[in-house]
Every structure is written in C-alpha cells, then in structure tokens.
Symmetry: C2
Subunit: 342 residues, 2 copies
C-alpha cells in the first residue's frame, strides 16, 4: 500500500536524508523541491520515486554532488555546458538561466547541457522560462544504459524515452507540455512493477518482440523494450525520439552509442512577438471550448492537469518499493522517517 | 483504377495546364516540381492529388499566383514574412532561403511565413536546408476551415493536422522526417475516399465522437474528425498539434480562430557544431542496425523510404477522382492529357 506523507514533511525528510548522505544543502533542497513538486503534480514517475535512485547514482560515482557546470563552447546564440556530473536539476537550472539571458540578448537562443544527472521533470525548466515570459522548448536524451525504447518495427532498445517539453506564456498559467516520445515513460513501467500492476496493452514487447503487459519484461535478461509513441503510427514516435537524440546528444558533440555519456538537455528559448500572450490565451480558450466525448470530463490544455493536481494535493504518495529503499537509507544514516498519514 | 504517367509527362502536363490557367511559368514549374516529386517519393496525399485543388484555390481568390512575399517584421534572428497569398511552395522557398542566410549570420534563426497557399510536403523545405548543411525544424499550421482534428477526448475539429518536419545533414542523404501530428494526414483520408477504400481503425470519429472506418465521415455534414496521433496516448498528439499552432499561427501574430488566415510555416535553422555530420551519420547507422521484428523488413531512418521510392519510381500514379478533375480542367483549356502507361 502507498504511504501518504504531508508535503512539508516529505520535503524535510528528503533534505535531511540527502544532507546525511553528505549532499550539499543547496543541492539537497533543489532536488527535494523538484521531486516533491512532481509528486504533488500527480507525476509519481518523476517524483519521490527518484529520491533513492539519485543517492545510488552518487554512490556509483555517476553523480558528483559537488560538480559545477562549465561553459565549453559559446557562440552567443548557442552555448554548450558541461554538466560536470552534477544533479540534473542543478545542471538544468544553470542551462535555463543562461538560455533566458541569451534569448533576451539575441531574440532566440539554444543551450545544451551534457553530462548531467537524471533531469527529472523537464517540464519544470520550460515552465520556469514561460513564467519569465519566454516561449521555450526542451529535448532530453539519456545514457545508453537507458536505451529501452525500440525503434518502430524492431526488437531491442535503441533510443531512450527521450522526452520533449514546451511551455507557452499566457495571461494566466503557462501551457506546459512534457511527454516521452515513447508509448509510456520508463518510470511509469517501474511504478507499475513496484505496485505489481499490469502495463497497458501495446506499450511493451518482450525480448522476442512479442507484445506483453508484464512490466517485469522490461527488466528481464535479455530485456524487453518500450514501444515508440503512436501504435500503428509508431514511425512518428520513432522520428520524434530521433529528433531528441539529435538535439540532446549530437548538439553536445556526443555519439549516440557512447557508453560514457550521461543525461543531456537542450533548451530553446524565444522572446515572443508583441501581443503573443493574448493570442496564447485565446488558443487555450479555443481548446478548452472543445466538447468532450465523455460529458463528465473537462477539456484541458497541457499542464492544466498538473496545475489542478498541485492545487488539490494534500499529501505526497510513496509506493512500497520506494518507501523501503528510503527507509533502509534512513536507518543506515540515523535519519527519522517522516510521519505517515492515516 | 489509378493512371500511371511517366514523370516527365506528368510534370509537363501540370506546367501546361497551369500556364493555360494563366499561372506565371516560374510558379507553374515550382508547383509541378514539388507535386511530381512528392508523388514519386511515394507520398500521393501531397502529390498530384493537390494539382486541381491549387487551381480551385486560385479561382476562389484564396491564392494569388502573382503574390510576392514581403518582410513585415525583422529582428535579425527572427523574421516574419507575409506570404501575400502566393502558392505555398513559393512562399516556403522564400522562407527557407531567408532562414538559411540568417542562421549562417547568427548561428540560429527562425522565419515564419503567414498567408501562404497550401504548403505541400513541408519535408521538402527542411531537406533543402539540410542539403545546405543546416539542421532544420518546421511547423506548419493551416486555415481554420481545415480544422478537422479533434482535441484528445473531444468531438469536433479543433486544430489542423499540423505537421512537423525536420532534417539532419549526414555524410550521405539527410535524415528527413515529415509527419502530421494527427493519427493520419487529411490527404490520406481523401485519397482513400477517392478510391472507395476504408480508413484504418482508430483514426477517425463521426460527428458524435464514435469511431468509424468510413473516410466519407470526415466530409459529412456535420463533419467527423481525425483523431490526434497516439491512440490511448492521444494527449501527446494533441500537445504536438498545439505546439505547431503556437509556432505556426501565434508567432505570425494571428489568432487560432481567425477565419481569414491561410497557411503558415515556421522554419528554424541552426548551424550544427563541428563534427556534427559524422555524429549524425553514426546515429543513422545505430538505428539501421536495429533488428526488425519481421526479418523480411529493412530498418529505415526517416526519409529513407521516400528516398528509395524516388530512386525506384518509373511513373506517377493518379487516382480516378484527381484524374477526372484534371481532365475536366484540361478539356476546358484545350490542354492535351498526358499519355497513360499500360
């Protein structure tokens, strides 16, 4: 059964646990902010589920919590940062700050950060840019060890789940879209496996290329693969995954099959033309006015479900596998577990 | 039954017919080049099928064959062109030429062209940019009268089929992806209706939001709607369609529901970093090495099927409805029909 924890208690616990694991306080808080927010926004696959993973990454030397991103190439409108293996949340914050400055200067800018830890919910970075009045687009590629998405019509993992995100400033909340270019994100399959639930049909194949609903097939030896977005139109999902590999990996000067590379993020930001926010607000209204097939459902724009979930959330839910991993870490470091709600 | 016409004969016929309809020769040739190439590339929905439509657009005053695109806003890295209702192929060529110049100057540039005729295969414009060594991305939005794609979970047409295209320079042929953000492009449904064939399941709904395989449902009164890309993951297709509306329509300063607007195209071009082509070539090899589930099929990258189709094509195929429309136009203007192959 999932544990329900008050948001402030969950946040404080993650910070204490990370500090006990000798993560600098600023980094611990940045990661906790990001993960608790994703859980509250109804995105468990990018929430607290990741907290023990990140500590494993530090232990394995994949993440250096003391890393400081550095600029390695700067052409004004296009900048490449070396993430220096720091937490993805810190590397991405640096990239977002920089692309905003350059977009204000040149009208349009692109920043790529390579060698970062797991980047979490990439919607968070474009949302930050839209809150600052910029139109933003993000492409995120992942290490080759996470190449678990089959190319359309093929068997083995070939690309990552390679999410795309974008955010659009409006007169109210920005539109924020953030989605994997695979049929499902890997975190959702892992969350289903942790809860012993079946995966939806048509999103997974086993190692022989046969469709399966068993989430464990993805973690078998040899592993199965997630299917690209689109079902019978999966060539489009594969094309989108490839686009992310081009913008995320290749613009960083890295080879797709380089086993040493880590997570990459490319942010594109644009100063919108005069009058843009009113037009974007009109576009949101246009979509929201569409008649739902199911009259009990509300028609929503991207980012609206997360915005509503966040406003309504009173607790963070933690699945049993994640809870046990956090409890083991907490016990090893003498950190008290947060109170569990009834 | 479809008519098979030698490519040169089909091209010459389109040029003669357009000239007879008082289209300037340069425009007639540019349109014929584009449509014959799309037909040869195995993309009938963007090929000769469109030739009679474009003449209808001229007759209806939607297209001005004498229009000349003009710059209406220029921020260096970002330019807005008024397409002046000229043929989409001419407006897009102007946008592609301009974005290439600005990308060379600034490293990164974005050009939007509004008020253009139907833009045809938008892959053609990014392919041209990649042939010139640039990484290119395109977003194409359409007039509100072609809003025939339902928002995820809703009934009526809300957005256009809103294609995205991109092209990546490699050491050999560029990768060229070009796909609608709907389950299928409208032209494919029209082509199926013209041939009295059924549509695939799960791509169309009737006006009551019920799934149907009858392509005529899209043209009924009230009309049905095409579904967004993604099936059960259709929220991602809708998010992509919305992204295209933002980049295509809103960056042009136009309202999504403005009944007066025509076709818009935004091209983003980027000078790739040193060593990029070798990395892109490696990415193509990486994908091509994936094991097909069906061992009789070859694993291909985007653009490769069109490249192979073009190399193998010996004739243009014209469906019966399109043939009859062209024949009626030809008879009215005393233009000889091209010879039909056995």
């Amino acid at each position: 059964v999932n544990r329900r924890i008050a948001p402030e208690a969950a946040h404080a616990f993650v910070v204490r646990l990370y500090e006990a694991c000798r993560i600098p306080s600023a980094a611990a808080r940045a990661v906790a902010d990001h993960l608790v927010d994703a859980s509250l926004a109804g995105l468990p696959s990018h929430g607290i589920l990741r907290a023990p993973d990140y500590l494993d990454h530090v232990d394995a030397g994949l993440v250096d919590p003391h890393g400081e991103p550095v600029v390695v190439r700067d052409d004004g409108t296009r900048v490449l940062l070396d993430g220096a293996r720091t937490f993805g949340q810190l590397a991405a914050a640096r990239a977002a700050d920089l692309v905003a400055v350059r977009a204000r200067e040149h009208g349009l800018a692109l920043v790529t950060v390579a060698r970062a830890g797991h980047l979490g919910r990439i919607g968070a970075y474009v949302e930050q840019l839209a809150d600052d009045g910029l139109l933003a687009l993000a492409f995120c590629s992942v290490p080759t060890r996470y190449h678990n998405v089959a190319w359309y019509g093929t068997r083995e993992g070939c690309l990552g789940t390679n999410p795309i995100a974008y955010a659009v400033p409006t007169a109210a909340e920005p539109v924020v879209a953030d989605f994997s270019t695979s049929a499902v994100p890997e975190g959702r399959i892992r969350s289903l496996r942790n809860q012993a639930l079946a995966a939806p049909p048509d999103v997974l194949c086993d190692a022989d290329g046969r469709p399966t609903t068993d989430p464990a097939a993805l973690y078998a030896d040899p592993p199965g693969a997630i299917q690209p977005l689109g079902g019978a139109q999966g060539h489009k999902g594969s094309a989108l995954g490839l686009l992310v590999e081009v913008f995320g990996t290749l613009l960083a000067g890295e080879r797709v099959d380089d086993a040493e590379r880590e997570n990459n993020l490319t942010l594109l930001a644009l100063v919108p033309p005069p009058g843009f926010e009113a037009l974007a607000t009109g576009l949101v209204e246009h979509v929201r006015s569409a008649t739902p097939v199911d009259p009990t459902r509300r028609t929503m724009v991207p980012g609206e479900p997360e915005h509503r979930a966040r406003a309504a959330a009173t607790a963070v839910e933690i699945d049993p596998v994640t809870w046990d991993r956090l409890a083991a870490r907490a016990a090893a470091h003498g950190v008290a577990l947060p109170p569990v709600e009834a």
